[in-house]
Subunit: 369 residues, 2 copies
Amino acid sequence: MADVHTARRERLRERCGALGADAALVTRPANVRYLTGAEPDGSALLLTRDRAVLAVPEEPLPDAAEQLLQQPDEVQRLEVPPGADPAVAAASTAARHRVEVLAMEEHELTVARHRAVVEAAAPARPADLDRAVEQLRLVKDEEEITGLRISAEIADQALGELLESILVGRTERHLAMELERRMVDHGADCAAYPVSIATGSHAGLVGHVPTDRRVEEGDFLTVALGARYRGYGASVARTFVIGTAPAQWQIDLHAVVFAAQRAGREALQPGTPCGEADRAVREVLQSAGYAEGPPRPVGHGIGLEIEEEPRLGPGDMGKLDARVPVTVGPGVHLPGRGGVRIEDTLVVRPLGEGGPELLTITTKELLAL
Amino acid sequence: MADVHTARRERLRERCGALGADAALVTRPANVRYLTGAEPDGSALLLTRDRAVLAVPEEPLPDAAEQLLQQPDEVQRLEVPPGADPAVAAASTAARHRVEVLAMEEHELTVARHRAVVEAAAPARPADLDRAVEQLRLVKDEEEITGLRISAEIADQALGELLESILVGRTERHLAMELERRMVDHGADCAAYPVSIATGSHAGLVGHVPTDRRVEEGDFLTVALGARYRGYGASVARTFVIGTAPAQWQIDLHAVVFAAQRAGREALQPGTPCGEADRAVREVLQSAGYAEGPPRPVGHGIGLEIEEEPRLGPGDMGKLDARVPVTVGPGVHLPGRGGVRIEDTLVVRPLGEGGPELLTITTKELLAL
């Protein structure tokens, strides 16, 4: 793995050069992890032309940092006493190594922290690294995609087990905790985001926080979950019905969202504008009479962060690339009645390779549980 | 509750006046909650001399925001479309209301977000609100302390139940998830922070992330947990021994940490410097031959955030006030062998009122489980 990280750091050095900076200070946790394989809490990576210094809080090491130390890698480790800011310590190191222009993540550093870092880096001049590392992270290598694939398998397994258990009478909170436990049982490091269980009138809501409401006969049940595996997390959402037979309105609503979601998936082609999946989804929903309220993007990139670039929203004009994993997750919510949400994680692939690769394979049928 | 929040906002207006600002933009989630009772994800509060505007993402409302709408309160709600930044929308509102100087939380806003906010607020001039709201939050009212007390009771109950169950052979991860489930069963909104279970050589480590290691006979077992209840979370940590009888070194080490922790608790008096508890703890540990490595503060304030002001660390010279809840949680970790950590949450009270009020009442004895 050391080679992978070395190559990534080399690409970031090239980007820095293009920005007119001879060093970068990386503080966004997912970016630090991408460039080093380690992500100790609060750490900061200084990347100069000829060295990489990872400033970490001086504490008992979490496992990832221990692994890093065991790697035959050129990352130096700089321990920072409790209370001191690793980013400031890294900036001081930059000054000592006569860095002239230090590029920093201005979308990540707070104003107060940026001020302290700039002071410590002087006489180096500050520049904005912006989302350079996020840009590098857009297209995944096959090892990253394997991580996402295993993450998706874990969530699918946990979900499959839940569907076989008795659900009526159990609360949203308990079902959510059980899913989290099952994901960990199947090898997840943790949940990639808080498991969402939405029943009855809550079903179909995005990011619903589980409540003490109990599952009832006739409910719609929306489940959204993701497993974090080696830093990577895919996301899946499904909507089912509780009881023996869904009502007609439930069948109809599910069919519309299912068709919309399929249209979105089919719009994932290398070279297609990012907004195309969103447009395809919206067209199906609108022609069925469902005008979603605020224009929420139908999907987004996914990887080390559960929501990362690119955004698949109205008017997102950037082009999709091969090997970019994204979510497609439309939903319709009818206030007071509930709704349907269906989300997959897929990897953009050219048609010659079979088109978009579906990672989350749990059935999207309207099962009656 | 509306009166409480109105009074808090009035005090913030006074602070703003002292800073030479006629309005404040509050973005730190715990601060928004403190001032409004609501904390929708990503929301921003604009407080001018005569109005309060809460800018929130236009999405199905979480429960807290719904409550806010039902309150006879003067907070106006400003819905912001997906993708737009509520802080920027609030800043535009400030400009429309002819704010002259807008104070912002520079320790909370990123450089990029601050830039966008300053632009939207123009011609209002930016100022630094700094930790003005955190300062207001230092001394708690009795209703806040009740929230912390219930939070502590929930954690104590969950911990008590765990101690009655069979532990040998179970993994750290599973025990952690079970504790979280039990806290929710007892009425917690969620865990206030990830439950930490550290066994064997992990015991005594601060912030240990649970692993697949199984509990064995003879282990030290350190548990650290907190329940979030109405936004407030107390924290408790205990160390026990697995098996019939602890070894002598375990008895001795536990006795030292117990004595140190007691010394720290007894140093909590209104008017005492914040660093005094830390000094008292360190004195006991050092005279027993345990020089902790890096000087980690022995405790900190606790309330809407699990770690907030004041810091109880070496050289913290500010004075403790009555009704400030703090943690006192020293530990000793012997690499390869494990260790002991004991943490309580207490409220500083004058001796005339009985001295520090212990919220986390689970026994600190070295139980053999």
